[in-house]
Symmetry: C2
Subunit: 202 residues, 2 copies
């Protein structure tokens, strides 16, 4: 089981925190299954959860991979039953928020409702930026787009959270391709890096 040191839960609205129940799931364990009554909305403290459906042929259709610091099954709030399966792809630590209480809070706490709307809107923007990134053909373009959309400050600096392999997955590349691309971009003075920080050079 992972032991989350720096908890990435700053994104959780204050009103929601008292409702949290910590859940730990081992790799391969189910968090919920398609058709189950919706009982909770989740937040990933550490690890990764895969949301998917199974096609008639038996193949798994991935809908989403929720990593550290991400909510998942937020859309389930509006539904009676989960419409997909959630399986931990690694040992993971989650926060579970009872769906009924969250729904009630949305009706009574206007501040929380606003926060929740803002949270969804931000996630939507990020998801769309990622979409356009994955539509780019070249690995170098994706790296630069990533820095330009996610980077902070004038240099578009990004502090790498996990490993380079994680970044590769985020960019839709193999880790080998990303290593090569980063090496080339550094050689060509397009990007620089200091420790776990990556940024654009002017």
């Amino acid at each position: 089981m992972p032991n989350p040191v720096s908890r990435p839960n700053a994104a959780i609205p204050a009103a929601l925190r008292p409702l949290a129940r910590e859940v730990r799931v081992a790799k391969g364990e189910w968090v919920f299954r398609k058709g189950e009554a919706v009982h909770s909305v989740f937040f990933v403290l550490d690890g990764e959860v895969r949301l998917s459906r199974f096609s008639k042929g038996g193949g798994e259709i991935a809908l989403h991979r929720a990593g550290r610091g991400e909510f998942f099954a937020e859309a389930a709030l509006g539904a009676a039953r989960y419409h997909c399966n959630a399986i931990a792809s690694r040992d993971s630590a989650l926060l579970a928020f009872p769906a009924g209480k969250v729904r009630a809070l949305l009706g009574t706490d206007a501040t929380f409702a606003r926060e929740w709307i803002a949270l969804l809107a931000r996630q939507l923007q990020r998801a769309r930026a990622r979409l356009e990134r994955l539509a780019l053909k070249f690995a170098a373009e994706r790296v630069v787009h990533y820095l330009q959309t996610e980077g902070a400050g004038d240099r578009h600096e990004v502090h790498l959270q996990g490993t380079v392999k994680d970044l590769a997955r985020e960019l839709g590349l193999t880790h080998e391709a990303l290593y090569r691309t980063l090496a080339r971009l550094k050689r060509e003075r397009v990007v620089g890096h200091e420790g776990a920080s990556l940024f654009l050079l002017p």
Copy 2:
């Protein structure tokens, strides 16, 4: 200018409709620019609007393309200024909803707030499914994933809205690659098509 026949506005919450003002923009016209004060949230009746930023190098970075039946700049509700540019990529008919009034409605009308949250959540789900789709390597996998996530009914049927070229863009492929892939999938009895309808074969 397009003349929308079947208006795809079923997705618009009832409380929002009285606020709508119809706007028509010609291809290449701006809907709003980055840095402008947020005045409206939009819905595409017909046509297409491209959301983008300009990088320091002068290149245009596309963030999102909103087509028929989609809202755009929903996330701007939480912000004071637009954080990207919106340009019509074709002659388009839009609905504009004044941001102030929508914000007010979110505070006073709990039903509308719930609808708006559901709307954002649905868009988020779709965006995430698309993300997983674009991460797939093979064109055939993307087509099948598209049908399985967006298709309706037992056959996972999809009525193609625009041209096959448009679908290719949605799937992150060139139109040539998609034509070839569709031809092969039809030959191999994986998918079938009737007119503008595409579906999975058992």
